[in-house]
């Protein structure tokens, strides 16, 4: 065996890669107008929020925790930014306020999980109500909109398109990359780099696999858990900002149910609900899969309620597909071990 083969295993790519490819190809083939620059743009822009949230969720899950308050935090931070804008505060400060409040709320989650020792599911489930309720109270349960003016210039800038490529005259042939999409991609890229190239990744895996091991290796469990929850809150506030800018107003219930979709995206992407396993790219691909399906179906003219049914079914099939890929990878691993003859 003198030559070094480059073995690319099936399991090197996150599971959701295959599901996404299948979904995307099917959508492109079956639904007319899906695979057009204009539509792809729309789909990607719609998926921004979920891509960020599933990134946050996947890190929580890998650490052996969960954050069910993501949706509530999106509502809360969105409301805070919007209400400040409405009251004439400069956009930069408003956004900063949103980010700070989101991060602080995330730290609160971390505190409840580590110091009060309440299980993550329960702690963030309760926190979700608190966050949403704060959003409702501040907004008086009404949609918030703001007037144009010099203070919202930043917001308008962020809402505009950075890059526009014309493949033709009609709207469907225009590829426009908005600042929001760019921000999303940059944020996710930064998180990925931090995850792979700093101790963030290994510590998260260690905490999720075995807390005792992590503790004995000198990893400060408390610091890291609070940190990841704070990061979650930070990402949620960015998502809140994106929603607000995209719809140019903010409904206080905008975050309703988002955390559940984030869990689904993350699990579809190979993250285990028990922790220790999974990846961030997997979760992002999971989010893209969900939005591909949703977008394709509504483009095809299918009623929202039918889309719900279809997504439910696809979820089940996606999980089954994951299993198949996993067991194939297991079998190949066994093969390899038998050949390699390890001690």
């Amino acid at each position: 065996m003198a030559k070094r083969k480059i073995n690319i295993r099936l399991s090197d790519f996150p599971n959701s890669t295959y599901v996404f490819i299948v979904a995307f190809v099917l959508a492109s083939v079956i639904v007319p107008n899906f695979f057009t620059p204009g539509n792809i743009t729309t789909m990607l822009t719609q998926a921004c929020v979920m891509m960020i949230l599933s990134t946050a969720m996947s890190m929580c899950l890998m650490m052996g925790c969960i954050d069910l308050s993501l949706g509530g935090m999106v509502s809360m931070t969105g409301v805070i930014i919007a209400i400040l804008l409405k009251n004439g505060v400069h956009a930069g400060i408003a956004i900063l306020a949103g980010i700070v409040s989101g991060t602080a709320f995330g730290m609160f989650n971390g505190f409840v999980v580590t110091k009060m020792k309440v299980p993550p599911f329960i702690a963030t489930f309760g926190a979700s109500g608190i966050a949403q309720s704060i959003a409702n109270t501040i907004s008086q349960e009404r949609t918030i909109s703001w007037e144009q003016g010099s203070h919202v210039k930043l917001v308008n800038l962020l809402g505009s398109n950075i890059l526009t490529v014309y493949f033709g005259p009609r709207p469907a042939q225009i590829l426009s990359i908005s600042a929001l999409l760019l921000i999303t991609v940059i944020i996710i890229a930064i998180v990925l780099v931090l995850f792979k190239k700093t101790t963030l990744g290994s510590n998260v895996y260690a905490l999720g696999a075995n807390e005792e091991t992590a503790r004995l290796s000198g990893i400060d469990n408390v610091k890291w858990k609070v940190g990841i929850y704070a990061l979650s809150g930070f990402l949620a506030s960015l998502a809140g900002m994106i929603v607000m800018i995209r719809t140019n107003s903010l409904q206080p219930t905008v975050g309703d149910g988002l955390e559940f979709q984030a869990v689904v995206a993350a699990v579809l992407g190979g993250n285990s609900m028990k922790g220790g396993k999974g990846s961030v790219p997997g979760a992002v691909l999971g989010a893209l899969t969900l939005y591909t399906v949703r977008n394709a179906m509504s483009l095809w003219g299918i009623d929202t309620s039918v889309v719900m049914v279809v997504i439910g079914c696809i979820l089940v099939f996606g999980m089954m597909l994951n299993q198949v890929v996993n067991s194939l990878a297991e079998k190949r691993k066994l093969y390899r071990r038998a050949e390699g003859r390890e001690a």
């Binding site: 290994s202 696999a209 005792e212 992590a214 004995l216 290796s217 000198g218 001690a343």
Partner: protein, 493 residues
């Protein structure tokens, strides 16, 4: 030679219990100092004091002549003390090099220098003679290699003292050889080692000195060459254990249990017969397929072809509930995860397999239940507790007894024991052997998987050997010896 470490009059109290009582002994560089004692003797507590996980209530730990004023897991690590526990502290989804440097990564600013880590990890692996690439994920390694990773982890922190806690209980024979070879290397480099083990035979092979502890007290410390096995056993148990392996059996009856040509993913064509009143021991290296075979026979896993028969009747595959109904039972390797519900008490665990027998109509009767369980608690001498005690708080030996009680209550006839005395001290071991002997005397059939050759030879009537997933030997105990069995165990690897 200067002492590397000294325990001086260490005492530690917990509410109601004196865990360590004025313990003193020492360690020299390059020495393998074996520590033996029953569960609860204080060995782990003492090591936790050493590692800084616990603080002693009185006494001192003196490292290279200087008393350790403050201690914590981080401090002890910095001072060169490394602990290798039985439950390996590795992260399966990370590579060897990531695991080695977990918590003390080589950094460039905030970024981890993965290249430098890989280089160093590869060096360390080469140093101890292991041929694995340090980018391999730990989950893809065998248990023995994983343990080696723990050792180079310790070496990467320039450990002066390494504590091994039950290192060999899940290793194959060849992995144990590897481990001993590396320990030899460490000896040469002047690393001082504490080695805790229940496998008394290993003492003589690997140890320089031995310390016996009992009930939190230090009983004796001496060079191993000055002591005999029975002296050590006496020190541990505080009494002489004459016949560790009782053998009061008589002739065997008909075939109660038969595995016929069983084929599964990890085993092929396994055929074993067990008669009433007989114990068949199953020897072999870890990975030979023994546990996989019995799991498939009991129904936990599926098998590809073959048959399993109890009293001549076929056992439906893949249905442990039906196997149990037919009188077949399995006492699993990992009793905490597979044998008991730790959050429930002794009573609830004991009756769970005999609910139909106890309550034919399905309605619970507290008094009846308590009475029945009490009878078994007495019979098995689960003396140290009441029924209502949560099994999580019991010692390994007592937990195993509860698992046995569970199947006794269900009136099973065929018992499959998978490593019945792993991690159990000598005193409890002997009472479990007596139980097994009693079972076969009453006509049950026992199939016993064990990696403890003396145990296999002590308890079995017949010995069966598996190697590389196949059955390679089936002999009467009288017609073979430990060497022959070992040979067979290696024959198909």
């Amino acid at each position: 030679m200067e002492k590397l470490l000294e325990f001086r009059n260490i005492s530690k109290y917990f509410p109601g219990v004196k865990a360590l009582d004025d313990v003193s002994f020492d360690l020299y560089p390059g020495e393998v100092h074996v520590i033996v004692g029953e569960n609860g003797a204080g060995k782990s507590t003492l090591m936790k004091v050493l590692s800084g996980a616990y603080t002693a209530d009185s006494g001192q730990v003196v490292l290279e002549g200087k008393p350790l004023e403050k201690n914590s897991p981080k401090i002890s690590e910095e001072m060169g003390i490394s602990m290798i526990y039985q439950e390996l502290n590795l992260v399966p989804e990370l590579s060897i090099s990531s695991n080695v440097f977990l918590g003390h990564e080589i950094k460039k600013g905030i970024f981890v220098d993965k290249r430098a880590q890989k280089k160093r990890a590869d060096e360390l692996l080469k140093d101890v003679g292991i041929q694995v690439d340090s980018n391999t994920l730990v989950k893809n390694l065998g248990v023995g290699t994983q343990q080696m990773v723990e050792i180079i982890k310790a070496l990467s922190k320039n450990a002066k003292i390494i504590v091994f806690d039950e290192p060999t209980s899940s290793l194959t024979e060849s992995e144990i050889r590897e481990l001993f070879r590396i320990i030899g290397l460490l000896k040469e480099r002047g690393v001082g080692m504490f080695y805790i083990s229940h496998r008394l035979e290993e003492l003589f092979e690997i140890g320089n000195r031995v310390t016996v502890m009992r009930d939190g007290k230090h009983i004796l410390t001496d060079e191993i060459k000055n002591l005999s096995m029975s002296q050590i056993i006496e020190g541990i148990a505080g009494r002489t254990i004459e016949n560790l392996y009782p053998h009061t059996r008589k002739e065997r009856g008909e075939v109660l249990f038969e595995i016929k040509n069983l084929c599964g993913e990890k085993f092929k064509n396994v055929s074993i017969k067990v008669h009433a009143g007989e114990i068949v021991g199953v020897s072999g290296l870890v990975g030979a397929g023994r546990t996989e075979t019995v799991r498939a026979a009991f129904g936990i896993d599926k098998y590809l072809s073959g048959e399993v028969l109890v009293q001549g009747k076929k056992v439906p595959p893949g249905r442990p509930d039906l196997s149990a109904k037919m009188g077949l039972c399995l006492l699993p390797e990992d009793r905490k995860v597979e044998g008991l519900a730790l959050s429930l008490n002794i009573r609830e665990n004991s009756v769970i397999s005999s609910l139909k027998l106890l309550y034919p109509r399905g309605i619970i009767n507290d008094q009846l239940e308590q009475g029945q369980v009490e009878a078994f608690v007495d019979k098995l001498e689960i003396a140290a507790s009441t029924q209502e005690k949560l099994t999580r708080f019991l010692s390994g030996g007592t937990q195993q007894k509860v698992v046995i009680a569970k199947w006794l209550m269900s009136k099973s006839r065929v018992f499959i024991f998978d490593e019945p005395t792993r991690g159990i001290d000598v005193g409890a071991k002997s009472s479990i052997y007596e139980l097994m002997d009693q079972l076969v005397e009453d006509g049950a059939a026992i199939l016993m998987i064990s990696s403890d050759l003396p145990e296999v030879f002590g308890m079995s009537d017949r010995i069966v050997v598996m190697s590389g997933g196949e059955l390679v030997g089936d002999v009467d105990k009288q017609e073979t010896d430990q060497n022959a069995v070992l040979h067979l165990a290696f024959s198909n690897v």
